[in-house]
Symmetry: C2
Subunit: 148 residues, 2 copies
DNA sequence: CTTGTCCCTATAGCTGCTACAGGGTGCAAT
DNA sequence: ATTGCACCCTGTAGCAGCTATAGGGACAAG
């Protein structure tokens, strides 16, 4: 009726360090320990971890998930926050798709234009050296994190 | 005829720490210093930095850019590597677009299904708790970094 | 008794920056 | 002269979300 950390990790397709990491962040509760000091979990913990992993796979951030979990813990509360989080992510995803589609076009075009076979005559290199050869103002798309 | 680090940074829309960071990684050369120990750059360095920023804005990674720069430095070399890098990124971008489009659909659907206004009856929360309610096997899409 | 598998803590690494802390230099105005 | 400002320096730590390693303990099967 109780699970080791390895067990819930495997059940949910996570790995062990990740579960401990979630615990440290307060997403997973501190479980009780057996006499040897090892973590023991119950079915609710398993569900909670599955929730987290599912939300992660849908692109939610850990802070967002924390919020969603606290809502899930209080069924009588209004869900407006949850809905807002979804809407926010949807908007971000759409922006990102749009940016990536522009990149795709740009790269496709660069690739298609390339007739050279030495780097001196390579359209790829040439284009990188000169943004004038680009179609889009993709420069605005640059963000430090998670670009491709 | 020479630039301070602040100057080339501004010219290329980078910032100063970033330029130093590129130097540390070997993307930018170590420039000469004036008598006070401050970095001084020439026009070629400016071009090189512009190349890097442009490539970044097109989604290339720093290791890829290092490779592209070394090709750009040797015009007589074959450009097959550059072309391969572009192809590789194009494939990644397409995968990512595809994954994001599936996410978009999934979130859109979750949002549309949500009729509840307490978290106990919220389709968002319910779906996160149960992947059966999803259309796609988006779970495969999960990657640690840069998800949304 | 060794081997293997699991568990523990604590820490460092990944990407590509960005933001300090703590100091120096040089120019212009007061 | 000194005050202020803008720029420069090095070195380190932080972001997200893990992942991997070091260095150790516990327990069962062969
Ligand atoms: Zn080429
Ligand atoms: Zn461009
Ligand atoms: Zn709702
Ligand atoms: Zn799902």
């Amino acid at each position: 009726m109780d699970y080791s950390i390895g067990k819930i990790a495997k059940e949910t397709g996570s790995n062990v360090q990740t579960v401990r990491y979630y615990e440290k962040l307060g997403l997973m509760p501190e479980p009780w320990r057996n006499q040897a000091g090892q973590r023991r979990y119950g079915p609710n913990d398993l569900k909670r971890l599955a929730f987290i992993r599912h939300a992660r796979s849908l692109g939610f951030s850990l802070p967002q998930i924390k919020e969603l979990l606290s809502l899930a813990d209080q069924p009588e509360k209004p869900c407006a926050t949850a809905d807002a989080i979804v809407a926010e992510n949807l908007a971000k995803i759409r922006d990102r798709i749009h940016a990536l589609q522009q990149l795709e076009q740009e790269l496709k075009r660069i690739q298609a234009c390339d007739m050279g076979n030495t780097s001196g005559s390579c359209r790829v290199i040439e284009t990188l050296a000169n943004h004038q050869l680009c179609l889009h103002d993709h420069h605005q798309n640059i963000e430090s994190k998670s670009f491709v």
